[in-house]
């Protein structure tokens, strides 16, 4: 076997990125961002609310957290569903105790499967972010534009209808996108997305269908990643989240506002033995002056004119 000559051709070897989605920029050389009230750090809490269908396809890939036992996988189907019955309410209760309004990234199918869940999120004053239709519907470049658009449109129809919110934020299942996803999101009225893990600040993306912001969402301090990919303990998760906050908070003194994102999963942090670790994290962060906790949409709105 040998390689075609094309393998030594590099058509996108040029200044900046090898695509047109966004421009390169040095996070430490940007004009400082000012948050409302002079806050140093915007705390962006995003709780994932997910449904993993029993028959979710393995191709072309499974979203993280997917069922992994032979069909019918009672084990993980129900474990993930625990988050929708108990876990999410445990997190909602803690957030209410702290008086926080945050974001919940919700699979569209939750609107019909569990309307009471969605109602509790909305009544808690939280923002609903579209999290695709369900965890078996991953976005990828093998989908036709029509099929992918149908998934996005249906997700938004369900969530907008059930919440009365505009639902302008998007998080793909497994943070997976195809080549067309940003266009399709913009076309369906999405203003910002949480899929890209390359920045601690909002930045502008380019689509053929209008503006789209990339909002930061930490990848490696996500509760699920630490617990289920790194197999690290809850105290180790707490330590890393605190350490992450400390550095961003310190940088904000010199470089302007930062976003501290805290991705949570209702079926991970909503477990009885975990939720008090979440409280420890919140107490630590909220114990600092200049922390502004807000739904991602508000953080995006504050950033939009500055980036």
């Amino acid at each position: 076997m040998s390689l075609p000559e094309d393998y030594l051709h590099y058509p996108a070897r040029r200044y900046g990125m090898d695509h047109d989605r966004y421009d390169w920029s040095d996070m430490f050389a940007r004009k400082p961002i000012a948050w409302p009230g002079g806050a140093r750090v915007a705390l962006s809490i995003v709780t994932h609310v997910q449904h993993f269908p029993l028959d979710m396809p393995a191709k072309p890939f499974k979203a993280p957290g997917a069922l992994s036992m032979p069909y019918p996988d009672f084990r993980y189907f129900t474990n993930r569903d625990y988050g929708n019955r108990i876990g999410v309410f445990r997190i909602l209760r803690l957030l209410a105790e702290k008086g926080l309004q945050t974001s919940f990234a919700v699979n569209g199918c939750i609107a019909t499967r569990y309307p009471a869940l969605l109602k509790a999120v909305v009544e808690g004053g939280h923002e609903v972010v579209a999290h695709g239709l369900d965890m078996g519907k991953v976005h990828h470049s093998g989908l036709s534009v029509e099929d992918e658009n149908a998934i996005i449109a249906e997700t938004l129809r369900l969530l907008r209808g059930a919440t009365g919110q505009p639902v302008e934020g998007w998080l793909s299942p497994g943070r997976a996108q195809g080549f067309n996803t940003p266009e399709l999101l913009a076309r369906n009225g999405i203003r910002w997305n949480l899929d890209w893990a390359n920045d601690d600040l909002p930045y502008r993306m380019r689509t053929a269908d209008g503006a789209l912001l990339a909002m930061p969402l930490a990848y490696e301090t996500d509760d699920r990643v630490v617990a289920n990919e790194y197999f690290q303990s809850e105290p180790e998760w707490v330590q890393q989240v605190k350490d992450r906050f400390d550095v961003l908070y310190r940088e904000s003194a010199e470089y302007g506002g930062r976003v501290m994102s805290l991705p949570l999963h209702s079926w991970v942090s909503g477990m009885p033995y975990r939720v008090e670790y979440l409280r420890e994290v919140l107490d630590y962060i909220l114990g600092h002056d200049g922390v502004w906790t807000a739904p991602v949409g508000q953080i995006a709105a504050a950033a939009e004119s500055q980036v």
């Binding site: 996070m27 430490f28 943070r175």
Partner: protein, 311 residues
Amino acid sequence: MGAEPMQSDLGLYDYLPWPGRPKITWPGGKKLAVWIAPNIEFYEYDPPNNPTRTPWGRPNPDVLQYSHRDYGNRAGWQRMMAAMDRAGFRGSVSLNVALCDHHPEIIRACADRGWEFFSHGIYNTRYVYNMTVDQERRIIRDAFDTVRKHTGQELAGWLSPALSNNLWTMDILAEAGIQYTCDMFHDDQPMPVKVRSGKLISMPYSLEMNDVIVYNSQKVTPRHYGEIIRRQFDQLYRESDDSGMVMCIPLHPYLVGQPHRIDAFAEAIDYIAGHDGVWQATGREIAEAYHASGAYDAMSAAAARHAQGDR
């Protein structure tokens, strides 16, 4: 391929046990050479497939993994560089050379600090698997030309892209004038590599100090990584009383440059820099000292004697 039987050992180096080796002396009477090798990489959004290895786990574009790596070039590199500046370490950059075209700003910041650039291939999503010798030679030439054009430096070192190699890779690297390879992990001291022509050194790099292995394979926490670095250093520093050794810390700015990781790393390299017997070197400087002190010749001779039965 197929027709070529696999070999059990390429014989790239002779066995030479640690006790009884010729003594290595580093410049200025320093005990331990410590070098830091940041892998400043560019992974492609839509790379071609290689039959031996598919670049991304998901179909192109693998937005999550692509953007995770891109974090290093937007944010992580600055934190990593600030930590190294504070501890007085210059980097020896394991460079996907196309990054010279994509992000000349990063290259300039490294060059301004006197950092060395060595080659880590063109992109980290292009492997040398299944290349012909001629194709691989063109990669090497591209790397030399690109680094010279953008930095004025003549390449001295090589770490194959994503550690992909062919049977002949070491031979053609040496033939092209590469002085050291980072692809072998068999020693704590630089060692001669048996190549067809020229002189090639295997420079101690490290899998176990490499942040990508530590964080992602070993699943080690950031603070424990700091502990691992100190322990590795303490042991090698003690042992270097007898003969100079080398410690390498290979990094990836998209990993170590994350906010939750940078401080533990920064404190660990401050600790290392606080020792008088440390030689804060680059890969090229270590290779040059290895030749200038006669260590290359002495080790080659010792290895030959050992192989001939003087055991």
